[in-house]
């Protein structure tokens, strides 16, 4: 397993554009800390974002995993191109001839995806922990380590998304087209949602059905955290609006994404096995 990871590491780390993208991704992950620096001090209006409760435990787990999940697009480019480049350089053929089995080839890519997700999760965990320790109003251990399921959801979300990118890379064989396909798929899911909502079911059933589509399932793993914020809720109370939402991470949501992940990896393998190179 380490051998496969090492092989993939050599391929990625010696590629300058991959290296730059990976580094900037992790810099961006860390840069969420910069949010803490947002501070307005215009005469009577004093606003310091960090003081608004976004860095309170355990809310910070929810907030940070939600925001940093957007940066995954950077790594998506890396993953799609690491797959597609194998085809355009025909190195996949040489790898197989040199004695890598097709299973090992897919496994090496999947292990890379898992490592990326794990390292990202660890990064977000560390950055959030530090930010929280500095700014949080509550510092009891039991509060700090509650709601950790958001980190699990974050990991699963990244892994599912990257597995999807991997599959697209193999399916389309060209990085630009694969990324285009990804966007097209997002539009497609939106279109399906619109059609179902319009012609077939009410809002709730539509949401339920859409929960089974890959990108939507990943999106729903971590719900938006903004309406949960104390400040936002007090504003809502004043204007007589009440948010009654379920922000939790649900087991079945994780299962759906895990199922998609394994399907994508299986399809990638089946595709590679079937194709002549």
């Amino acid at each position: 397993m380490l051998r496969l990871l090492h092989i993939e590491f050599i391929k990625l780390w010696n590629n300058r554009s991959s290296k730059i993208l990976i580094i900037s991704y992790f810099v961006l992950l860390t840069s969420i800390a910069l949010v803490a620096a947002i501070k307005f001090d215009i005469g009577p209006i004093k606003f310091h974002l960090a003081e608004q409760g976004i860095f309170n435990f355990p809310y910070i787990w929810h907030f940070n995993t939600f925001i940093t999940a957007f940066f995954k697009l950077f790594l998506a480019i890396v993953i799609v191109s690491m797959m597609a480049n194998e085809y355009s350089n025909k190195t996949i053929k040489q790898n197989l001839i040199d004695g890598l089995s097709k299973k090992e080839f897919i496994l090496s890519k999947f292990l890379t995806v898992v490592s990326f997700s794990l390292i990202s999760t660890f990064f977000v965990f560390s950055v959030s922990l530090i930010l929280g320790l500095i700014y949080s109003d509550y510092n009891e251990l039991s509060i700090i380590f509650s709601d950790m399921e958001f980190l699990l959801a974050y990991f699963v979300k990244l892994m599912g998304f990257f597995a999807f990118c991997l599959f697209l890379g193999i399916l389309v064989k060209r990085s630009a087209f694969a990324l285009g396909f990804l966007i097209l798929w997002q539009v497609f899911e939106g279109f399906v949602r619109g059609m179902i909502r319009w012609k077939l079911f009410d809002g709730e059933t539509t949401d339920f059905i859409m929960g089974f589509f890959p990108l939507n399932a990943m999106w729903k793993l971590i719900d938006e955290p903004f309406t949960r914020l104390g400040a936002v809720q007090s504003v809502a109370d004043q204007i007589g609006e009440k948010f009654d939402m379920d922000y939790g991470v649900h087991g079945y949501e994780i299962l759906i994404v895990l199922a998609w992940t394994s399907l994508f990896i299986y399809f990638s393998y089946a595709l590679l096995k079937k194709r002549d190179l």
């Binding site: 051998r3 092989i7 391929k11 010696n14 053929k93 197989l96 001839i97 002549d276």
Partner: protein
């Protein structure tokens, strides 16, 4: 003698096209094999199948008496198919290190093999800066990293200049002299004739011949003759039962033997008949001529 590769009744269809048809042959240790055939005769497809990159339609193949899985066996094989495929953004050394990792062999042979193909002074240049000849040589170095039991080369001199072709052939000869089994696919017959001891000849995916190169050329050869008495000479050859076929081209008469005959004997009897030659050469048929005869006779 141990068997390295056994191919039995291998068939590959691409849609309606049958690229390889019911092909069987074996590769024994220690010989230099050539797979010969015109473009599109199924050479590369056959190699692709045994190298695990093309799926077979039917039939079977086994490496090293079938004692290990194909990808394990491939770690003991060195192969280059058509174009050298490496990561363009990596240097020669980095690329070879990667190959070592895949083949699970130590990295200490890298310098030695680069030396062998004459690329040691360019070892830290990126692959994309290499010329085609250098890329091909790097591919050979990479294929030799594991000191393979068999070296498989598919059109190794394709697209190279004469100097590059010469370099590659020298390397092949050097490797062969060290006792490595070699399987060389090519449509260049003189190439095969120069380095191979055995041949498999393919046409349209079918095997026409498999065996020693010498056995294939076991004809009695032919004479090339020239004279001012062309008519008389043609008459003489026609009446002599030692010749199977006589052709005339640009005043040069070619007479094919159907039994052994010395040039001296022919010359003497022609002199006695009053025919004086200005040109007399006795030759063995080259592989090229044999190949053309073989492929043509099967075509009709």
């Amino acid at each position: 003698m141990s068997t390295i590769l056994t191919v039995s009744n291998l068939t590959k269809k691409f849609g309606y096209l049958t690229a390889v048809k019911d092909l069987s042959f074996t590769i024994e240790k220690g010989n230099v094999y050539g797979i010969l055939g015109p473009n599109g005769s199924g050479k590369s497809t056959t190699l692709g199948i045994v190298l695990n990159v093309v799926n077979r339609t039917s039939g079977d193949f086994s490496w090293f008496d079938g004692n290990m899985s194909t990808h394990e066996a491939l770690k003991k094989v060195g192969a280059i198919i058509e174009r050298p495929n490496f990561y363009p953004y990596m240097t020669a050394i980095q690329n070879l290190r990667l190959v070592c990792k895949i083949k699970e062999v130590p990295e200490d042979k890298i310098e030695e093999k680069l030396e062998l193909v004459g690329l040691l002074n360019r070892k830290n240049s990126k692959f994309r800066t290499y010329s085609l000849g250098m890329k091909q040589r790097l591919a050979i170095a990479s294929a030799l990293l594991n000191d393979p039991e068999i070296l498989i080369l598919d059109e190794p001199t394709n697209g190279l200049d004469p100097q590059g072709i010469h370099q590659i052939r020298e390397i092949i000869k050097k490797v062969a002299s060290q006792g490595t089994t070699i399987l060389l696919a090519s449509h260049l017959l003189d190439e095969v004739e120069k380095v191979c001891s055995h041949v498999v000849i393919l046409r349209k995916g079918q095997k026409l011949y498999a065996g020693r190169v010498d056995d294939m050329m076991a004809s009695h050869g032919f004479f090339e003759l020239q004279t001012t008495h062309t008519e008389a000479l043609l008459q003489f050859l026609k009446n002599n039962n030692g010749f199977s076929k006589v052709t005339q081209e640009n005043g040069l008469i070619t007479a094919f033997l159907n039994k052994e005959m010395d040039a001296e004997v022919l010359n003497r009897s022609l002199m006695e008949a009053g025919i004086v030659l200005s040109h007399l050469v006795k030759r063995k048929a080259s592989l090229e001529e044999q190949f053309l005869t073989l492929t043509n006779s099967q075509a009709n």
